[in-house]
Amino acid sequence: MTPVLELENVALRHRGSTANVVEDVSLTVEAGHSLALVGESGAGKTTLLRLLLGLSRPTCGSVRFDGAGLSPRDRTRMRDFRRSVQCVFQDPYSSLDPRRRVGAIVAEPLRSLGLDTRATAAPKVAATLERVGLPADTADRYPHEFSGGQRQRIAIARATVCHPRVLLADEPVSALDVTTRVKVVDLIAELKQEQGLTLVMVSHDLSVVASLCERTAVLERGHIVEQGDTAQVLGAPTHPYTRRLIDSVPRLPA
């Protein structure tokens, strides 16, 4: 089966810099096998996510979607890509436009991808907001009227309203309190199940990774040091860096 997204021997170096931010990274995202990118700040997790989203282009190596490269000039293909791959960001306070109503925010992908008009988008928006567990009047209100957890639900609604195949999420729950975190993790798990959504998640929270992703890749300073099934990587780590990450997780007293 062709992987949905694929990175092959990818390296990225910023202009003017001498060192690569990520180097020699190969990853595949197959449908139904959610992937976690794990590592500490500066390891290159977000850089990989940007590459997968087509927001940056690699210095060398290739990024492939459905088996073929991406070219920003190919409008039809980019539109197909954007429809298939959507994203959720870490900070629910800065990722929603404060001056637009939630209904317009969530309808944005439908309208910019040319899938719907204002009139035909409205029922889809309402259904999606209901699906992520928000009250019916949400569409007419503004982001500031909602709590952090509710805002992250709005961001998830925006990302899933066009029924993408892949959801890229950059630390989607780390800004949330623990009780809210559990609920949003549950929501993402349900969406995976119901809509056959494949998740690619950047996180430093290993328990969230273990709850949501079948596969895990561990990044240290721009290199992948270990990747495989999450149970294998987190349960029986072979690389000392992975082991150190797991040992550092604070645990509740028994």
């Binding site: 952090g148 975190r181 559990v182 273990a210 550092s248 997780v249 604070p250 007293p253």
Partner: protein, 266 residues
């Protein structure tokens, strides 16, 4: 001996909303208390009220007795004598807690000079000592650096060195590791634990994370919507929470943690 005695602390905004409601807590000399709560529970405001640092427009009523000084209603002059000597604080975000335009060495030198009256080479040596003691490598280089030139973990160590510079009797740590990576967090918690033990300091440790609090303190107070919900030994709170809210907190933390366990068991 009681070092910090908070009785009936209430914090209100100018428009009359109550953000901390009739809170009482005590910290004895050498004792460590954890303050647990989610965003909006009033835990950070409580720490600010203890230091007399409430933002403009908020008023505190009740009593905060810190090493014999009544903080509520005290003059700035009175408070200046208490801060640093009786209690010092490490905030959550080291990037905003440090002055971006001042070299790290000078930022530590300021409280040190105030307490010890050292000058010149002796003061520089003391700064070096303060940086070494929070286990920063290459103290000379760090002292010359600006905050943006060092990593988040190093910045938080600098903030801790500043707080410890005046040898406070009470260290207040407000989510000191929330902005840090998990392995850096583990090192920071160990560091706080050992420094506090060596100096027999008291600690008020604020966090939303039960597991983190359990690493540092033995006793904890759970807060919700400005009120104390439950207080007790951390082990008891985790094992046999009495209140619904504490139960929900523990259950959430356990749920996430169990995901890790299931995987490792296979």
């Amino acid at each position: 001996m009681t070092l910090l005695d908070v009785r009936g602390l209430t914090v209100r905004t100018a428009d009359g909303r109550t953000l901390v409601d009739d809170l009482s807590l005590t910290v004895d000399s050498g004792e460590r208390l954890g303050l647990i709560g989610e965003s909006g529970s009033g835990k950070s405001l409580t720490t600010l009220a203890i230091l007399g640092l409430l933002p403009d427009g908020m008023t505190a009523t009740g009593s905060v007795d810190l090493a014999g000084t009544q903080i509520v209603g005290a003059t700035e002059k009175r408070l200046a004598a208490v801060r640093g000597r009786d209690a010092a604080v490490v905030f959550q975000e080291p990037l905003t807690a440090l002055d971006p335009l001042m070299r790290v060495g000078r930022q530590i030198a300021e409280p040190l000079a105030r307490r010890t009256c050292l000058k010149g080479a002796a003061l520089r040596e003391a700064v070096r000592g303060a940086l070494t003691q929070v286990r920063l490598p290459e103290p000379e280089r760090i002292a010359r650096a600006f905050p943006h030139e060092i990593s988040g973990g190093q910045r938080q160590r600098v903030a801790l060195a500043m707080a410890l510079a005046c040898a406070p009797r009470l260290l207040i740590a407000d989510e000191p590791t929330t902005a840090l990576d998990v392995s850096v967090q583990a090192e920071m918690l160990d560091l706080i634990d050992s420094l506090v033990r060596e100096r027999k300091m008291s600690v008020l440790f604020v966090s939303h994370d039960l597991a983190v609090v359990a690493r540092v303190t033995d006793r904890a107070l759970v807060m919700k919507d400005g009120r104390a919900v439950e207080e007790g030994a951390v082990h008891d709170l985790v094992r046999l929470p009495r209140e619904e809210y504490t139960k929900a907190l523990v259950a959430s933390a356990r749920r996430l943690e169990s995901a890790l366990d299931l995987r490792s068991a296979r």
